[in-house]
Symmetry: C2
Subunit: 333 residues, 2 copies
């Protein structure tokens, strides 16, 4: 598993708006104590509310890694970023990126890393030394967030559950399975970038044996009902062997992202997940539903949460509006 050195300097480049900088915002929201500042180029329209620093100033404040916290059109490294990235390497920082293009494939950056003895982390591209899954039951507790679709809040639900558990004094670790989560957590495996034969094995490696009372909170990917990605979701379910799952759902969405297919019912996702998950953990259970109600008014959001919970007889909340106390109550019950 990749482990990225902290603290971070978050690089926002020339982000055209706050949405383009959402990876950086996620790092500040969930791991703010690991961020010494941000670096912005001319024209940057995003602001994470942390100190503006040069790479060398950040290094003097203890920063170990420059993290690219901005998404770019096509996932490439623009020419205008090359000089500041080289300067960061020269200042003694590693660089971590979730862009499609590998830093290692940008000649100027690769050469500077080599010259300065710094590391480049291309977190979308997992190591190629992962094991085949064994199906062996591991010690410790695991929760997996699953979804009715892609991009419904599985990552944030998992991070919120980790935080709530830790606030209650329960040992817990968020386990990242996608590029943004890896940059937030500083470690993880981009499960959808793993060769298919090794995807379940990667999920096993991600949440190793642990103390009996410890919880790994694994970030879900895709959906068992998504025709493009269900295989990834199933490999992650089998390899994570969760004791508990939370189903994540966006109540205003009618069509799955990227395909011409309806969003499945939450109940169908619960049933399918438990039926398939029993293969590697017969004790799997659903501990609730996390709704992403960002598109609803306060009153409509409240009604959606109440109606969904009542209809399914399961704890239900919007992690952003309500916190995840009801889910964690059920996990620990």
């Amino acid at each position: 598993m990749m482990v990225i050195a902290t603290p971070y300097l978050v690089f926002l480049g020339d982000a055209r708006d706050a949405l383009a900088a959402k990876t950086g915002q996620g790092i500040v929201d969930w791991r703010g104590q690991r961020v010494v500042g941000q670096q912005r180029l001319a024209g940057c329209a995003a602001d994470l509310g942390v100190p503006d620093l040069s790479a060398s100033a950040a290094q003097r404040l203890g920063a170990r890694t420059l993290v690219i916290g901005v998404a770019n059109r096509g996932g490439v490294v623009p020419t205008s970023w090359q000089a500041p990235l080289v300067q960061a390497l020269e200042a003694g920082l590693d660089i971590a990126s979730g862009l499609h293009t590998r830093l290692a494939d940008v000649p100027q950056v690769a050469a500077a890393a080599e010259r300065c003895g710094r590391r480049l982390f291309d977190v979308r591209h997992p190591p190629d030394t992962l094991p085949i899954a064994t199906g062996r039951k591991r010690a410790g507790q695991r929760l997996l967030t699953v979804g009715t679709d892609c991009s419904v809040g599985k990552k944030y639900a998992a991070l919120a559950i980790e935080r709530e558990l830790q606030q209650r004094g329960v040992a817990a670790d968020y386990r990242a399975t996608g590029q943004t989560g890896i940059l937030i957590a500083g470690a993880g495996i981009a499960i959808d970038g793993v060769v298919a034969d090794f995807a379940a094995g990667a999920a096993e490696a991600l949440s190793p044996d642990n103390d009996a009372a410890h919880w790994d909170v694994v970030e879900g990917q895709g959906s068992l009902f998504h025709p493009s990605f269900a295989g990834v979701s199933l490999a992650l379910l089998h390899g994570s062997q969760p004791d508990a799952v939370v189903v994540c759902h966006e109540p205003t969405r009618t069509t799955m992202r990227g395909v011409d297919a309806p969003v499945p019912a939450i109940r169908a996702v619960v049933e399918q997940t438990l039926a398939l998950g029993r293969l590697t953990n017969p004790r799997i259970r659903c501990v609730g539903v996390a709704l992403n109600t960002a598109a609803l008014t306060d009153s409509a959001a409240r009604e959606a949460v109440v109606e969904t919970g009542r209809g399914l007889a399961l704890p239900c909340c919007d992690p952003m509006r309500d916190g995840v106390g009801v889910l964690v109550d059920e996990m620990l019950a």
Copy 2:
């Protein structure tokens, strides 16, 4: 999709027994008309019953590709093979291999291919330009062989069904998803070597739109019940969107290969496959069971076939002993 030029010279190296040459045997069994001969080195203990030829003699008889028809310990290219492989390239043949080690990573062989302008096909390593699956229903008919486990006869059942369809005058193509099948068919995609995000997309690319009455017969991989590989099996099921499935089973096996898990009941595999397959093809149905009874006596095999078919109320056969007529009858019914 890789397409390998035929006819073939099958290279057996110094195969220590007939089992080590089973890829070569498969090519002769299923595509014998495309084989001009075999090349054997000193100490080879296998014989495919076709003419022994040098690379240059094979080339004069029309051969276009030397296919490595022997499995080797660890999947590597032994030093003793390098000279004959270089000679084949110099004689004007391409080389195709299903070994783990890439021919392209053997410096002597790679240099000779470059010098002679010949192609190297490393069929375990799929192209990295595959699409994300769309879930769009394609024209034409498709059958997928699925399994209660790995290595239960899915490839041979699919090849036998292709042959039976063609003998009845039905347009049909076997679609290979593993290295041996690709070498037999001369084309295909090693689905388990595809990056997980693209596995269903690879399956879609493998069986493109076709005439309404045409059948693609897709080689299955793994099992929906195998904790190491179920994600691969599900991606293949969704991307293949089969109209018909055949469940393959080895009746003497009690534990799944490589893991400490029981072999599932055939009925459970039928039900799970249909339930999950409906996502991309609501008309999916099971047309029968193919038993691999190689480990049984004739009378025990007959009894297993009769009892299994009766118990499930499905057509049942051993493709090797009985042919697949009963399965094809049901496909075309």
